[in-house]
């Protein structure tokens, strides 16, 4: 059975090809990091996997079905996506925002069910944002705001979570907070999480599987200890680096680096 995969994906913006005939498979139950230089197609790939970007060729397979065979709401029940720089009206409260995550389960004419309230509450607790439930999102700090949006995607109760650079614009402690949250969601709620990350050391430390993109194709994929090598860094990022082992986290660590 194919859990989640892209087959022969090609995506164009106008005449410009972003992703070229890509084949990629995502192992169930893991945290999968998408890494690669700017313009390598990470966000575009994520957009295609969530059904947002139109495919020129190929198909996205989700649980043995093509993605577009699902209705929009059914797809949202299986697959939640948090794009880069999410925006919502600043005056709505965290609770209302998280409630949007229940849209895929709600029918027209009906009001919110008890199940929706429970799911919203649970999502806020899991994302550790429940103390701000009645705060307008404009009043939140960057890290709190990001956790509120993550809570919204958790309310979708989907097995797969796509996160596009959820740590951008956050300082180091808040970056770590989000990444640890991602790991908890994976280990305890058993979600498969595909995450675009810029910081390579964080990718090596928090992901079970790394997908390295280079000019719209996949250059490397595998466990961090296998693919996070000086060879890969030179090949994909054009940096000369020394990779050692992080003695505490037991993962590869980029030590010294410079452009080639």
């Amino acid at each position: 059975m194919t859990f989640f995969a892209g087959q022969n994906l090609t995506i164009n913006y106008g005449t410009h090809t972003i992703i070229k005939q890509m084949n990629v498979t995502f192992p169930k139950g893991e945290v999968i990091g998408l890494i690669g230089p700017n313009g390598s197609g990470k966000s575009t790939l994520l957009g295609a996997l969530s059904g947002f970007h139109k495919l020129k060729t190929g198909r996205v397979i989700l649980e043995d079905h093509e993605l577009h065979q699902f209705s929009a709401k059914k797809r949202a029940q299986l697959l939640a996506c948090l794009p880069q720089n999410p925006q919502a009206p600043g005056d709505i409260t965290v609770r209302d925002l998280v409630g949007y995550g229940r849209y895929a389960y709600q029918h027209r004419w009906t009001t919110d069910h008890e199940a929706d309230h429970k799911a919203v509450q649970r999502a806020m607790v899991n994302a550790n944002i429940q103390e701000f439930a009645d705060t307008p999102i404009a009043d939140l700090s960057g890290g709190q705001r990001q956790r509120a949006f993550i809570a919204m995607t958790l309310a979708q109760d989907s097995e797969i979570l796509l996160l596009d650079e959820p740590t951008t614009f956050l300082d180091l402690p808040h970056q770590l907070e989000i990444l640890k949250l991602v790991r908890v969601l994976n280990r305890e709620l058993h979600k498969t999480i595909i995450i675009v990350l810029h910081d390579l050391n964080q990718a090596a430390r928090f992901c079970d599987n790394l997908v390295c993109l280079k000019q719209g194709t996949i250059a490397y994929q595998g466990r961090p200890q296998d693919v996070f090598t000086a060879q890969m860094l030179a090949d994909v990022f054009h940096v000369r680096a020394k990779v050692t082992m992080d003695p505490k986290a037991h993962c590869p660590l980029l030590l010294t680096y410079d452009t080639i």
């Binding site: 913006y13 059914k74 949202a76 999410p86 925006q87 919502a88 005056d91 209302d96 949007y100 027209r108």
Partner: protein, 325 residues
């Protein structure tokens, strides 16, 4: 908190009813409550056949324009969107003027069809101008709408000056409800029912597309479908309003912001409040227009723009430190 908000809607409704009664009774002549039921008197006929359609038309147009404004602001993610900024009013206007010049019969059916056609064509052009490779650009929508509506207004003024018919179109250009009859009232009532039905049915979907595109798509929203529904509601509401009441400024832009001052929740929670507020505001303007310079009438469009403008300046002043996030 929730209770307070319900009180807001209820008090708006009570205020609306009071205004409605007063609007029926007050005007060039004032009537007494007993005239409502004195079926033999002339006053009875005036109240039910002249005043009622007029007041009801003002109430409905107020509700429709306010809703249209809020819908556009929600679907374009732009707090200053307004049917008139997007040229929808101007398009309906110009179509009406051209139709009249070309000798199309000035019946209700033709007025409404023309207004709808003009509104829809204009919106289509503005919409196409604002499409980019990455979908609809809210900034382009406002820019092209503003420019195109200026262009259409210029043509409309030009035509009415060249054909020396500006007096006949006075009602379109300044807006007002004098001379509204029962047929127009029924038309507006039916339109209101359709629009209210559509809005209630799609309220949750419209709320979701108030987020940015990729986010609402990820939540399971069919953006193109819902945005089209919202646009159809806006075009219907605006063209119906223009066909009966002419150009009435401010309501679409200002009323949603005023309601936002009292209730900051999202679309699905506030659209009824916005419609009620729009009704109350336009009935109030219409009453003032009849009362302030008796026995003459003031132009309603101008009055609502002055009143609303004043309101908005006060609102912006009060909000000066708050920023839309």
């Amino acid at each position: 908190m929730r209770k307070n908000r319900n009180y807001f809607l209820i008090s708006l409704c009570i205020l609306g009813l009071l205004l409605f009664m007063n609007s029926l009774l007050l005007g060039v002549h004032n009537y007494a409550l007993s005239d409502f039921f004195a079926s033999q008197s002339q006053n009875f006929a005036i109240i039910w056949q002249l005043r009622l359609p007029r007041v009801l038309a003002a109430a409905i147009v107020g509700a429709l324009l306010a809703l249209a404004g809020k819908l556009l602001q929600t679907v374009s993610n732009n707090p200053i969107a307004d049917p008139s900024l997007l040229g929808i009013n101007s398009g309906a206007n110009l179509a009406l003027i051209c139709g009249t010049i070309l000798g199309v019969p000035f019946t209700l059916f033709w007025r409404v069809s023309l207004a709808f056609l003009g509104a829809f064509l204009t919106f289509l052009i503005v919409f196409l101008l604002s499409m980019t490779r990455r979908g609809l650009s809210p900034t382009r929508l406002i820019l092209s709408g503003t420019i195109f509506s200026g262009f259409l207004n210029g043509i409309a003024y030009g035509i009415s000056i060249l054909t020396k018919s500006s007096q006949r179109f006075r009602n379109f250009l300044v807006g007002g409800f004098s001379g509204v009859d029962c047929k127009q009232m029924w038309l507006l009532l039916i339109l209101l029912l359709i629009i209210l039905g559509l809005t209630i049915y799609f309220a949750r979907d419209i709320t979701i597309i108030g987020l940015n595109d990729q986010l609402s798509q990820g939540l399971g929203s069919r953006i193109v479908l819902i945005r089209s529904v919202a646009v159809i509601i806006v075009v219907l509401a605006t063209s119906g309003s223009v066909a009966v009441g002419g150009n009435i400024a401010f309501i679409g832009l200002g009323i949603p912001h005023l309601v936002h001052y009292f209730d900051k929740r999202d679309f699905k929670h506030v659209y009824l409040e916005i419609m009620c507020f729009g009704s109350v505001f336009l009935m109030f303007c219409d009453l003032l227009a009849r009362l302030l310079a008796r026995p003459f009438e003031l132009p309603l469009g101008g009055l609502s723009a002055i009143l609303g403008g004043g309101f908005l300046i006060w609102y912006v002043y009060r909000q000066s430190e708050a920023v839309v996030a």
